[in-house]
Every structure is written in C-alpha cells, then in structure tokens.
C-alpha cells in the first residue's frame, strides 16, 4: 500500500515499513543487482529474514528474483523493479519530509 506524497508522487509505502525490507530495498537501490548471500551479510540479516522480506517485496511488484550460477555454485540475484525504485525514492522523500516537519515542530517555541 502506497500513500501519495505532498506533491502527488508516491509517498510512504507499507512495503518498506519494516527495517529488513527497508535495508534490502536501500541496498538494492544502490546497485543494479545483488546476490542473496551478499545482501544478507552486508545488511546483517539472517537468510530467513531476508527471504521473508524479499518475498513480501516481490509480491508487491517491487523486487525481481533471478536464479543463476557462478561456476558450479548456484546464486540467487535480487534487484529492484522500476516500480520498486520509484516507490522507494518516494518513500525516502516522504521520510525526509516527515523528519523536516518533526525538526521544525521541535524548534517552535
């Protein structure tokens, strides 16, 4: 579920509402594609947590899962879809907006 932001673009999204899903999406936003085990290691997630987060994001249409091989070793590659990148940027923009609002409210007398 995605709510529209203040400028009409995609805003906060339920798909990124947990830390594991946020970490996975942010990591994938910084690259074209990444291997399951590498994401789990760098984002400090257990394989089960990463698998659950990936399935949720895939069901939302934000993540693509591809099976491949490096030599004989099977690898699972994850990447954000175009919709996923757009929704994630909108989510970050909405978070940034909320942070600014909170800071200006805290600064008021």
């Amino acid at each position: 579920v995605t709510s529209a932001g203040p400028d009409g673009r995609p805003g906060l999204s339920e798909a990124f509402a947990t830390t594991p899903r946020l970490k996975v999406s942010a990591f994938l936003a910084g690259c074209a594609e990444a291997d399951f085990a590498t994401i789990a290691e760098i984002c400090e997630l257990t394989p089960a947590t990463l698998s659950k987060a990936a399935t949720t994001l895939e069901n939302a249409g934000y993540l693509r899962i591809r099976k491949g091989h490096i030599g004989r070793r099977p690898r699972t590659w994850l990447s954000l879809t175009k919709a996923g990148r757009s929704a994630f940027e909108g989510h970050l923009a909405a978070l940034s907006h909320l942070t600014q609002q909170g800071q200006s409210a805290a600064g008021r007398p």
Partner: protein, 163 residues
Amino acid sequence: VNRDITPQGALQTAESARAAAAARAMPAWFPAVTAALFAACLTGVGSAQLIGMHQVAAKVTGLAGTACGIAFGLMYVLLVVRWKRSGVIPLPPSCAQPRNGLRDLWIFAGILAASAVAWAATGYPGWATIVFGIAEGVHHWRRILPRLFDPASPATPAGRDAR
C-alpha cells in the same frame, strides 16, 4: 512510517545500506588506469599512422597501442568477473547520476568534432585518432571518477576499495 524506527533512523539506515552497495563499484585505481590505457591505445595507433605503416617505429607504436587496447578490454572483463564474484553488480554511471547522461553525450559529440577539426586542419587521420584518444580518455576518467570521490554520489570514499 516504519513500525520499529523513527523516520530519521529509517533514513540513516537506508543511506548506509545504499552507500554500502554503491561503494563496491570499482577499485580507486580503476578509472585512472583504464583512462590511461584508452588514451595510450589510440595515441599508439594514431602515431603509427603518422609515422607511416611500413616503418619499424610505426610497427612498434602500433603494436604497443594495440596491446594497450587489449589491456583496456581485459580490465573491463576482469571488473565484471570481480562484480559477479563479490555479489554486487553496480548501477551504470548514467543511472547512478542520471543528470550527467545528456552532458556526457554532448561532451562525446564535442570530442568527435574536435577530432574532425584536427583531421581537417592537419590533413592526417592520425592526429584525429590521437586527439580522440586523449580527450575521450580524460572524459572516461572524469565520467567514472565522481562515483568514487563525489560526496553527493551514492558511492562513498570509505568503501571504494571494498572487496
């Protein structure tokens, strides 16, 4: 809003995760070495054309230039192998910095025009090859360098040589 962290915390978490992925693009020495190899390749080939293909010196510079060209291609093949082994395939520079895509196209057109001018002014295609090699080498270096050193870029210097 994330259920388990504040908006500010979520932003910081996202920023560090994104930077960790972008930091694995390439080693710090890669842009300079590939740019030098590209420029050396076309300078060697251009010099061979200027000297005259039947001279020994032309054969030496031509072969050296060709060797640099092969090394340039090989460096990219090794970079792709490195990406696959490390488990992170980076975004192409035009996606990481989309605003620079059109600018790069204009610079490339300018370099082609400068090469054509060099050819027309001297009457030797060798000079056009040399001008194109050096200018495009510098452009290539500048195009991929910001990913390592520009603080506004998704990549951060701290992790530029990771893996």
